[in-house]
């Protein structure tokens, strides 16, 4: 028998914290073992540093008049733009005399913002609808599942092309629209099937018997259990959002002042893409940046997949 007078109960938050730390350590180990996950994470961290370096450089060694990503112009090189890489411009300048490296660094921030905003919206909608559909079933379920069928029927990129002519899109609107459209699509079906496997677990039954309402059960029991899968899909959604933005900007269909896609579009519009090798600094850096960031998020997603999906685990 425990001596109640001397035993001090640990506060709940401490227990929760310890549990969290333990599961985090275990999952981090699995993630690390996947090897491709950490590789993606390192690339993303690299881009974050790259992004953070821009304001520092602008306020120290770069003259804002010359190096501003949108308004800048290098008067020393008049008539030579687009100038090849040099010490002053490590990645050269674009056809209207702006520094490519500065543009590249500056755009990183908007790519992160766009990708993550769109993905968070998609996953939030998908998780909510998926768990509600799984819990209630019936008419609500049928409605949202048919809606998902309908959304999946539309070719995503083709739909965005129509949308941009209806609403002139800046970065934020694009993120909202992509997030919303994605959220009602395939992800609801995936998350609903996950939520269905949670719904039949005994602890849901127990929660019901204990008098838990629908809202309480969905919020406290179903959603926390499908969150890992949601998080996994978030990574894949970041990839597709960044890709779509870049492709739309490349075709010149967005109302954005600067992004990696716009940089490619500038090169294309000025006719420098036809000359390929001679003006490689116009298309190679932004193209490589888009590819690398998409690649990194996808790798992280696959790394997470090995933790979340027990059938893919090694042990």
């Amino acid at each position: 028998m425990m001596d109640r007078t001397t035993y001090k109960f640990e506060p709940l938050w401490k227990i929760r914290l310890r549990l969290f730390a333990r599961s985090f350590r275990k999952n981090w180990g699995l993630f690390w073992e996947s090897r491709i996950g950490p590789l993606g994470l390192f690339i993303i961290l690299g881009f974050a540093l790259f992004m953070a370096a821009h304001p520092i450089l602008m306020s120290t060694i770069w003259d804002p008049k010359v190096y501003d990503p949108i308004m800048g112009f290098d008067p020393k090189l008049v008539g030579q733009h687009p100038a090849p890489p040099s010490w002053a411009h490590p990645l050269g300048t674009d056809p209207i005399g702006r520094d490519i490296l500065s543009q590249l660094m500056w755009s990183t921030r908007s790519e992160f913002a766009l990708g993550i905003t769109a993905a968070v919206i998609t996953v939030t909608i998908g998780t909510l609808i998926g768990s509600v559909c799984a819990y209630f079933g019936g008419l609500i379920d049928m409605f949202f599942m048919r809606l998902a069928d309908l959304v999946m029927l539309f070719p995503f990129f083709a739909l965005l092309i129509v949308m941009q002519s209806i609403i002139p899109m800046d970065l934020f609107k694009l993120a909202l629209i992509m997030g919303g459209l994605g959220g009602f699509g395939a992800i609801t079906i995936v998350l609903k099937s996950q939520a269905l496997t949670v719904k039949v677990k005994p602890y849901i039954e127990a929660a019901k018997v204990a008098g838990g309402g629908a809202f309480h059960i969905i919020r406290n029991h179903i959603i926390p259990n499908i969150l890992p899968i949601s998080f996994l899909y978030m990574m894949f959604n970041v990839t597709s959002a960044i890709f779509s933005e870049a492709a739309l900007s490349f075709f010149g269909l967005l109302d954005i002042r600067m992004s990696w896609g716009i940089m490619l579009n500038t090169a294309q519009d000025a006719g420098y893409l036809g000359a390929f090798g001679y003006y490689w600094w116009l298309w190679a850096p932004p193209g490589a940046a888009i590819t690398l960031l998409c690649f990194a998020f996808y790798l992280v997603g696959r790394g997470l997949d090995e933790i979340v999906n027990p059938r893919l685990r090694k042990r």
Binding site: R35, I36, L39, R146, D149, L150, M152, L153, F154, P155, F156, F157, A158, L159, I161, V162, M163, S165, I166, T239, F243, A246, A247, F250, F251, L264, L273, F276, G277, W283, G287, A288, I290, T291, C294, F295, Y298, L299, R302, D305, R311, L312, K314
Partner: protein
Amino acid sequence: MLRFIAWRLAQNVIVFFLFLTVVFFLFQAMPGDYTKQFIMNPKIPPEAREALAQRLGLSGTIWNQYIHYIRNVFTGNLGVSFEYYPREVWDIIAERLPRTAVLFFTATLVAFSWGYPLGRYIAWKRGQVGDYVATVTGVLFYTIFTPLLAIILLFVFANQLGWFRSGGFLSPRFWIRAPVSPQTVFLMLIATVLGLIAWWATAHLVTRRIGHPRPRKLALRTLTLLGIAAAVGGWYASGLGPYAGDIVWHMVLPLLELALISFGGTMLLMRDSMLEVVREDYITTARAKGLPDKVVRDKHAARTALLPVVTSFTLSIGFVLSGGIITETMFSWKGLGLTYLQATLSQDFPLAMGCLTFTGILVLMAHLVADVLYAVLDPRISY
């Protein structure tokens, strides 16, 4: 089974109806009045405008237009393109769809023939260096920015090496004196390939009766070579050979691009699917029986693991339009994707709506086929 198909078909009709509704109102919401857009178009003669408005149902309230539009689609009347007046939308789609379809199916076949064995192999060698290298390469191909890949391919193979043409469907100068239209040659090309496949399949069936493996293989090879020789000889004799060659020559680069991208996806999917299958009990049983590793891998595991790959192939038919847009634009390949992009940007409403409608039909059919295929391929599922 039949009842299941009928039920799905009925559901699909409803979903398709909703799809049409959304398409109609989307294009209504576009700036530039749908009903007035073509009035200023110099390509359309004034006297034809009234008839066109009548036919597309452009008069009356939105509700009337909507009813008219739905009726038109279900009676197969997609209207006349504004940009390519007086060509029928059907006519344009019938010309462009084969180009996209050939690109897509050939690329998928190429990607599959490399991705399937490689995915199977790296799943078996899980955790070794080869697995990581192949996975990372696969992800890279899968996530590469499509225009960048196109630029690289164009730069290396068209600009530097000069092996292939840098875009377009054919070399116009070469075709000036051509006796037939490119479309005819292209359709003949498709017919030849399909005929060859049919010939090969027949030869396969016939030679299967030969009991001994060595003469069987010899006979199959001889018949296949004979078929190819006959096809090449036929093209040579018709005098259209160089024209066909010109189209194929232009097709290589866009094909390579699509094949590389879908190769990455196929390989990764096959790997994951295979990793799930090798955990099943029957694989352990097969191993315990003492079967060779190769047999367990290829005969027992890979066949089951193929299931999601086949389904994803069917479902990726929606990719024909979406994925086609970027690739076709980069290589100026006049297929459905490029047509759709241009039609949307130039507000050629009937053509853009026609492309979307047609893709919708294709995707719905593909979903149906995927469901049925799943039931046929997987004995555990029955309807």
